[in-house]
Amino acid sequence: MSSNDVPPIELRGLRKEFRLPGLRGRARAARTQVAVAGVDLTVSRGEIVGLVGESGCGKSTLARCVVGMYSPTAGEVLLDGHPVGTRRSSADRRRVQMVFQDPASALNPALRVRDMLAELLRVHRLVPSSDIAGRCAELLESVGLDAGFLDVFPHALSGGQRQRVNIARALALEPDVVVADEVVSALDVSVQAAVLNVLLDLRARLGLSILFISHNLAVVRQVCDRVAVMYAGEIVELADVDTLFAEPRHDYTRRLLAAIPRISGDHAQSVPSGQSVPSGQSVPSGQSVPSG
């Protein structure tokens, strides 16, 4: 905990309102929807902060304010201690990158992986043009994909592979902060872990700061250092991950934790176990399948 270090990203009193269309004049105030109601949050260098909450709590809006897709109604976003204006410069945009939720729509179907990565490197002049090909392969390697995937179109990738390419794209710009918005929620459990490990690895190797947004508390517990619980546009609890799961303080956090189904221990067994398998129903022996 080095408090004298300037955090790569800090939110101060961040607030975002949306005006609902249709009404004008005096009724306008009543038709304003507050998505984020004044949030303070800091992500230190090399830290993974989880942001959890249910749909509609404002976590995605918050993410979009952080990366600059929305300009906040009030409050500010500070990069390395310097506030960024509503119109972000290209250099400022580059420093905060986002990995999107939906692997299907996050990659341009018309571009090969190589072209997509090379474009970013070229536009921002991140490496000399002779090194672009090598850097592309290196980026894929850092997310656990071999260079063979460079010449592939997105439709030929599985969900997990797409999500890794998405991370590689964010990495191409050498950002300080990555906002990971529900990056594994569209993936199968067996594939989720691979993507999570990529994030953990990047944090360890590059000192990346990650704002990890998820509705899945179990996943957040696996990868995050601190967790912020969001409810109705506000952060209702912010704590170290072990503390939060062991001693939740806010009533909403407690309810959220209680609602999660657990794999261990018996919850409810409505059917007496003796009745569950009728006689003659044990493993059928004669069942065969044409194999191959």
Binding site: G160, P261, S273
Partner: protein
């Protein structure tokens, strides 16, 4: 009273879907039985064939699909039967709840009409009687203002409310079997919790048997007494849920359980199953999990998909079914 014959008996069920890339064998060799009033979980990941197998029971597959094998429900065969003969069973004896409550209701008809409809066509009730009963059903699924909701359209309700409406619809004719196809996947955790409690109570009260399809092992753990595990179109393990989860006898079940992030207990780094799902059009020979398996050997390539007995109640299609999985499976498997 336990009858000798199970309520539902599925044997050697195989489903071939027609896709733009050609015929796809989405499920094959699926055999299991469900007793009256029993709750069975059917788990698997994308492409495991679990939803397809479920829809095949009621003949609700997309056009051009072909089904072989047998599904016997209360002594009647359901495979290869005309739509005309299946229709009276659907919604009355076997009902189904679907995954996405946002799209599962007709957007341009009122809730009351949609619930009442099943009573009118299946039980021949008149509009007034059906409507009165629909109100009662809404109250039973704990909807606060049933009278108002009856007159509303689906878009005026939240996802959780719509799923309650769908449950009410499924319970309407007091079916003997309820098929649930990932009914809580699209919902928030707290809403999911309420819906699961509701489903548990509903199946207790009605005495209906239930097959609960889910990718979420924990949800199935909450609700079911027995579990079936599918992978790449085949059934790989089945048995009472406690023993299966405590001591899995199929390498896939074990790997899946390990990869689950836990909400309590010691914090552990993410563990994944290496590799990707096999090509669905050209699956590997023998055990389909062997390409990602850490405890496979040469014999796996020629292993039949038959479930081998573990003990009287359990079966697994793994070479380690009888002896238990070797320890190295528990350590390796950490990969990217």
């Amino acid at each position: 009273m336990v009858s000798a014959e199970p309520l539902l008996e599925v044997s050697d069920l195989a489903v071939t879907l027609h896709t733009p890339q050609g015929p796809l064998r989405a499920a094959e060799g699926v055999s299991f039985a469900v007793a009256a009033a029993e709750a069975v979980g059917l788990v698997g990941e994308s492409g495991s064939g679990k939803s397809v197998a479920m829809r095949a029971i009621l003949g609700l597959l997309p056009r051009g699909s072909t089904v072989s094998g047998s599904v016997r429900f209360a002594g009647r065969e359901l495979v290869g039967v005309a739509e005309r003969q299946l229709a009276p069973i659907r919604g009355r004896e076997i009902s189904m709840i679907f995954q996405d409550p946002m799209t599962a209701l007709n957007p341009i008809r009122r809730i009351g009409g949609q619930i009442g409809e099943v009573l009118r066509i299946q039980l021949g009730w008149n509009r007034r009687r059906a409507s009165a009963h629909a109100r009662e059903l809404l109250a039973r699924v704990e909807i606060a203002e049933p009278d108002r909701v009856l007159r509303q359209f689906p878009h005026q309700l939240s996802g959780g409310m719509r799923q309650r409406v769908l449950i009410a619809m499924a319970l309407a004719c007091q079916p003997r079997l309820i098929l649930c196809d990932e009914p809580t996947t699209a919902l928030d955790v707290t809403t999911q919790d309420q819906i699961l409690a509701l489903l548990r109570r509903a199946s207790d009260e009605s005495g209906a048997a239930m097959i609960f399809v889910s990718h979420d092992l924990a949800v199935v753990r909450q609700l079911c007494s027995r579990v079936l595990v599918m992978y790449a179109g085949r059934l790989v393990e089945m048995g009472p849920i406690g023993p299966v989860f405590a001591d899995p006898r199929h390498a896939y079940t074990a790997a899946l359980l390990r990869s689950l992030p836990a909400i309590d207990g010691p914090r552990q780094p993410p563990v994944s199953i290496g590799g990707e799902l096999p090509d669905r059009f050209r699956p590997p020979s023998g055990c389909r999990f062997r390409t990602r398996c850490t405890v496979a050997d040469d014999s796996c390539a020629s292993l039949p998909s038959t479930l081998l007995p573990v003990d009287g109640e359990r079966g697994s299609a793994c070479i380690h079914a009888a002896t238990g999985l070797p320890d190295r499976g528990a350590e390796s498997g950490v990969s990217r």
